[in-house]
């Protein structure tokens, strides 16, 4: 079974530039997550999709971050303009979501963003 695919693996940009990350979840997984993991911290949920609808984006900095999930499959996360504090690993995950909780999530390898 193919895992969650993310690209690029690494990205270095200057502050105030824009950047986009791409995620392809496991086939058939209804739920897709984007997490931000700052060095030394646990992952923080940015946005959760159920098919192509947003379930939770309460911690997404909407003035600069945006995300979409095309046709309920692939997803892109964009930052515009980037700030130094956006330097982090951006993790994408997906799960079957049986609706009752307790469904494990499968994670991609992440995109390491460095803003200079």
């Amino acid at each position: 079974e193919a895992g969650v695919a993310q690209s690029p693996r690494y990205k270095i940009i200057e502050k105030r530039q824009s950047v986009a990350f791409w995620c392809n979840p496991i086939s058939g997984h209804a739920t897709l997550y984007w997490y931000q993991q700052i060095l030394g911290q646990g992952p923080k949920l940015l946005i959760q999709f159920q098919n192509n609808g947003v379930v939770d984006d309460s911690q997404l900095p909407k003035d600069r971050f945006s995300a979409e999930r095309l046709k309920g499959v692939d997803s892109t996360l964009k930052i515009q303009p980037a700030k130094l504090e956006d330097s982090a690993v951006y993790l994408c995950a997906s799960s079957l979501n049986t609706g009752g909780g307790g469904t494990e999530a499968f994670f991609g390898q992440g995109t390491r963003l460095t803003v200079v």
Binding site: G42, S95, G101, G108
Partner: protein
């Protein structure tokens, strides 16, 4: 609302000795709980999960965890540490709707 507290940010053990990584949770629901491991420059991998079945859960690589509702704990253990166990470990709680809330992580160091 839900939250997870990992009581130790760093744990150091000698190879061949037991491992104990502590996790306490808070949840308004009957929780599902997970432990994930993250090796350097690798993605997060599921070690084990508790979903209201048996309270003692066995996972991969000899790890296990016990769900204790009275103590709101879900500690991770392994009888004998191996060098390859050195990594960061995350305790995760979920709710209906599958929102995952992560702890801050425990860095496990295994020494010869």
């Amino acid at each position: 609302a839900q939250s997870v507290t990992q009581l130790d940010s760093h744990v150091s053990v000698s190879e061949g000795t037991p491992v104990l990584l502590r996790c306490n949770y808070s949840s308004s629901y009957s929780p599902s709980l997970f432990w994930y491991v993250q090796h350097p420059n690798k993605g997060l991998q599921l070690l084990l999960k508790y979903t209201s079945a048996a309270t003692l859960v066995k996972g991969i690589n000899g790890f296990e965890a016990e769900f204790k509702k009275s103590e709101t704990s879900f500690h991770l253990t392994k009888p004998s540490a191996h060098m390859s166990d050195a990594a960061e470990y995350f305790c995760v709680v979920t709710s209906p709707g599958d929102k995952l809330t992560f702890g801050t992580g425990t860095q496990l160091k295994v020494e010869l």
